[in-house]
């Protein structure tokens, strides 16, 4: 499907079937019904049907006659076409076109015939066959009416004075004109995509009026019960009576008089007839007209008219479904914004347009959305996205397009906007997104990070523009979130560097480039080593030893932290066990290993830890897993359960960077923590007139009250050490004692103690 809309956020073109079918039928109807005789009407019908469906062959065949196009004149294989009309699963060999697919629909004439089309390469779709069926109906109607008119005309010629018959001729002609106008009106309504209910109501109204009936009812398949038809539209029936008619069995879909009796009709109506509504050969509904006059007789021509209306119900329903499918394909179901596909199409069109000098593109990513989604649930996340989408839409100018790319990523296409104008729109979006939201009765705050790229229309490439805006957004996010960033070419280099880093990091594990360094944890009283914290280093080829700050965030972001973290755990445990064996089982050395948020989310974490302990034979009590409090906020319940299970293995848990989060105390209460690690910022006293030291003291006292061990981090001077000793902190680590060192040097430290 080609989406061709260039303006507006909610316009789109429809697919090849649906409304095109109704338009083609309108064209067909106008042409065929204009012919005064059966022969030329049939010829035109066959030609136009073939043209409408781009078929090579068109044929109307009866047992005693045939009209064929697509073969050299006089050489049409009529017998073969007649056979093909009844044996459908075959190909027709057409000179110049090769083997052709066949589609056949009945022609409801006397005698019965078939309309047949044959097309090279593409088989016919169900919708195309539906269109053919409607065309065949129009042709049959035309032939019946042309027959009636010529009969009347002959009669009239015999007896010019017979005024009554004269009137009849005029009436017949008028009826035909009214029917064609009425069908055209319905087709136009379908083409305009009028609301489906209004189209169905028009059909029942027109059918009732044109057939001189007192009531018209349309029943369609119950979507929940394929054996039952339910009322979809009624005309000339009181509301109470319509209720009575609400449900009938599917078998009643197509019944002709006189077998159609009062059984399915409300009071007062006695003569009726019904035509089936079909979609791809399946009966999906029934159109009924009924009269309250016992002497009313519906004629065969009336039956065909009703069938034509029933075909139009099918067209309308198919079209509505197509429009709905198109809308679904190109609009995000949750927010109603354009999808990525539609957006890209419009962006490509905008990039080509020369009548507007520039095009602006905003790439919008929400900050903190994941936290809301994880803590409040997906339904709340969805509700929030809907509100965000509305706000973004509200910030755009007329004609701009907003899209949701999935997750919490949005984009906006700004027609004719330069950098300045794009910046203004981005500011409006940031301001709008920043305002508080009410979700499930709670106030929620999020931010938007926006990347901006602009291009010169007619010169820029849509893909490049999108990539630039994406890169700029990434920079905005890294620079502090809730801000906008205009794309600059150097960002690409940084992005490429980052991609190289990621590629190397992925290979680092298998190439044995990762290594652990160990920083001793010291008893502040005795100076003895009580344990080590395992810290990751990377020997990146060509770059030397890379500190964790340069690659751990990327590993977190990409999920590589999970395998890497697993390796760290196993290696640290192996090393600890090795030392225990070397320095005697009595050596009480603890190994501290950091656990990332991603690892904590892994369902297999507890089993993995248990497996490592079993394999290395390290006593669980010798392992300390360090967790930062931000890790614990993302999903409190799950984290609590995992930590509980880890504790049951016998290992101990340390809360890292304690004091830096806003809910440190509640963490102590919520999670089964054994050790508090005092953040280095409280250890580096002096700069703030002793407040930090006071804080460190308070943390130590808190630990004592809660029976938790406290470990001070970042001890770099004897002043730090003295202050901590004074605060009665028992254990610590820092450069004053040792930097993190390779395993052999760590072993030497152990040796010394």
């Amino acid at each position: 499907l080609t989406v061709t809309a260039l303006h507006g956020s909610d316009t789109y073109a429809v697919g090849p079937a649906g409304s095109l079918g109704s338009l083609q039928l309108a064209e067909f109807l106008a042409v065929v019904s204009a012919y005064p005789d059966a022969e030329s009407a049939t010829q035109a019908a066959v030609e136009r049907a073939a043209e409408a469906l781009e078929a090579e062959v068109g044929a109307a065949v009866w047992p005693d006659a045939a009209t064929v196009v697509g073969f050299p004149a006089g050489r049409a294989p009529v017998a073969e076409l007649r056979a093909a009309a009844t044996q459908r699963d075959r190909l027709l060999e057409v000179p110049g076109a090769g083997p052709c697919h066949i589609a056949v629909v009945p022609l409801d004439t006397e005698p019965a015939g078939h309309l047949l089309l044959a097309r090279a390469e593409d088989p016919f779709t169900g919708e195309e066959v539906g269109l053919m069926r409607a065309m065949a109906r129009v042709l049959a109607l035309t032939l019946v009416m042309v027959g009636t008119i010529s009969a009347e005309r002959r009669l009239r010629e015999r007896s010019e004075q017979q005024a009554e018959e004269n009137d009849h001729l005029v009436r017949t002609l008028q009826d035909r004109q009214r029917l064609m106008e009425s069908l055209s009106e319905i087709e136009r309504a379908i083409a305009r995509h009028d609301p489906i209910q209004s189209i169905l109501d028009t059909i029942t109204t027109q059918a009732r009026g044109l057939l001189g009936a007192d009531a018209a009812l349309l029943r369609m398949l119950d979507p929940d019960d394929a054996g039952t038809l339910v009322l979809a539209s009624a005309n000339g029936v009181a509301q109470s009576a319509a209720q009575e008619l609400a449900r009938v069995p599917l078998a009643a879909a197509e019944i002709t008089p006189p077998s159609f009796d009062r059984a399915d009709l409300p009071g007062g109506l006695c003569t009726a007839m019904a035509a089936a509504v079909r979609e791809s050969d399946e009966v999906v509904g029934s159109l009924v007209v009924a009269s309250s006059r016992p002497d009313h007789r519906f004629t065969p021509a009336d039956r065909q008219t009703l069938a034509a209306f029933a075909d139009h119900v099918s067209l309308a329903v198919t079209d509505a479904r197509t429009v709905q499918a198109m809308h679904a394909a190109f609009h995000d179901a949750l927010t109603g914004l354009a999808t990525r596909a539609l957006f890209l199409d419009r962006l490509a069109a905008a990039a080509l347009r020369r009548d507007r000098p520039t095009v602006g593109l905003l790439f919008v990513d929400l900050d903190r959305f994941k936290i809301v989604n994880d803590t409040m649930g997906h339904a709340a996340g969805d509700a929030l996205l809907v509100q965000v989408a509305d706000r973004i839409r509200g910030c755009l100018r007329a004609g701009d397009t907003a899209a949701r790319f999935g997750g919490d990523e949005f984009a906006a296409l700004l027609w004719g906007a330069d950098l300045e104008e794009s910046g203004r729109v981005a500011d409006r979006i940031i301001e709008a997104v920043r305002r508080p939201y009410l979700v499930n009765g709670r106030q929620v705050y999020i931010n938007a990070s926006i990347g901006i790229a602009t291009g010169v229309a007619g010169e820029c490439d849509a893909d490049d523009l999108l990539r630039d805006a994406d890169v700029a957004m990434y920079h905005a996010k890294r620079n502090g979130k809730g801000r906008r960033q205009v794309f600059e070419p150097h960002m690409h280099e940084e992005l490429i560097e980052r991609m190289l880093l990621e590629a190397d990091l992925r290979r680092a594990l298998e190439r044995d480039e990762l290594v652990l360094h160990y920083q001793p944890i010291i008893s502040l009283d005795s100076g003895r080593v009580t344990g080590f914290e395992a810290l990751l280093r990377w020997h990146r080829p060509g770059h030397g030893l890379v500190p964790p700050a340069q690659f751990v965030p990327l590993a977190e972001e990409t999920g590589l932290i999970v395998p890497i973290g697993g390796w760290v755990l196993a290696e640290a445990c192996r090393q600890a066990d090795d030392w225990r064996r070397r320095f005697g089982p009595g050596t009480s050395i603890e190994m501290n290993v950091n656990l990332s948020a991603r690892q904590l989310e892994q369902p297999g974490l507890v089993a993995e830890v248990a497996e490592v302990l079993a394999r290395t034979q390290l006593p669980p009590s010798a392992l300390v897993l360090e967790i930062t409090e931000t890790v614990l906020h993302s999903n409190v319940e799950a984290a609590s359960a995992t930590l509980g299970a880890l504790k049951r293995l016998g290992i101990r848990l340390a809360l890292d960077d304690f004091g830096t989060g806003y809910s440190s105390l509640s963490c102590l209460q919520q999670f089964p923590v054994d050790i508090i690690k005092i953040d280095r910022s409280f250890v580096e006293s002096g700069r703030d007139g002793g407040r930090s030291t006071a804080f460190a003291t308070a943390i130590v006292q808190l630990g004592q009250m809660l029976n938790l061990e406290t470990v001070a981090e970042g001890i770099e001077s004897t002043e730090h050490l003295d202050a901590l000793r004074a605060a009665r902190c028992e254990v610590g680590q820092g450069y004053l004692f040792s930097r993190p060192v390779p395993a052999d040097q760590a072993a030497a430290l152990l040796n010394r103690t």
Partner: protein, 381 residues
Amino acid sequence: MAVGRSTDRDSYRAGAAAAAGALAHDDARLVLVFASVGHDPAELVRGVTDVTGRVPLIGASTSGEIAVEGPADRSVVVTVLGGPGFTVSVTASIDLASRQRAAGAEVAAGVEAVRGSEHQVLLLLADGMVGQQQEVIRGVYGVLGASVPIVGGCSGDDLRMESTWLLHDDRVLSNAVLGAAIGSDAPFGIGVDHGWRKVGDGLAVTESADGRVRRLDDEPALDVYLGRLGAPEAAYTDQDEFTRFALRHPLALRRRGGEEMRFIAGADLATRELLCVADVPAGAMVWLTEGDDQSVLSATDVACRSALDMLGDRPPIGLLAFDCVARRGVLGDEGIRQEIARIERQGDGAAVAGFYTYGEYARVRGSTGFHNQTLVVLAVS
């Protein structure tokens, strides 16, 4: 296939010189003459036939001639198709305007004479001032069915829109259609593309009759057309300005296999209707379009490639281009030089001839095949 050209102002001399340049073979089977409407057609054809003798001839006045040396005006381009592999039958049908369909059927009958050849094509040249050319295709298709592809173009008069002429052997005709049924032992290829981009959403033709598009989406067609395309003020009130604008913004008529372009020849400023040369039926879906030199030029490559692809691994001996004059309007003089250079490049040494037309014929699939504002290329192998 060989091509000769002359820019001599004297029609007789021009015809003779171009024909002499094209007569590379002894066994010429068909002579095609594409010449400026400014030439005296009777003198021109006398000059050509004095060189080519009684070889079947068809020709047309143009809105610009195409040959390997590039485009030209006031020139004559003569193409001679010859060799033992070809058989040709030429037919003319007159009074086209009142009987397009019957005329189409008449020229199609000429194909019978070349039925013995393995490959056939029907080359049509029709008077570009006559409307309802789709009926010609219906007439042809009624006789040939899918068995023979159709290709060709409609004569022009340098956009004067007054009168054009056709040449059939030694006769000068107007209001006519000519058919050259060509049979060959090697395949033909036909490529079609236009290069116009759709603007905005599709519009339903809610009222239309006899080439007058009255309403689009139930609004006056002219206002919808000018408004949605952001036409300049002058196009609303000045007929010439409108025509200039419309030349670059044809309608795209929706078809299952793509679009058929429709040239808007004028507007009725009083009734707010669009006047089209070819049929734009009520109930059809159309798009407004725009084009620029790049989009139009890229269509040139597409049309040539698809024509050449149909030849399989056989090299082309010639390419005939039937190129809408409106595409020429968009490309400008420099653009059409580039366009013809592209055709030449695609042909890789094959002879190139053709002209700027008032309508193009191409039927390869299905049963329709009258185009506007389109490039049709016939590759001969």
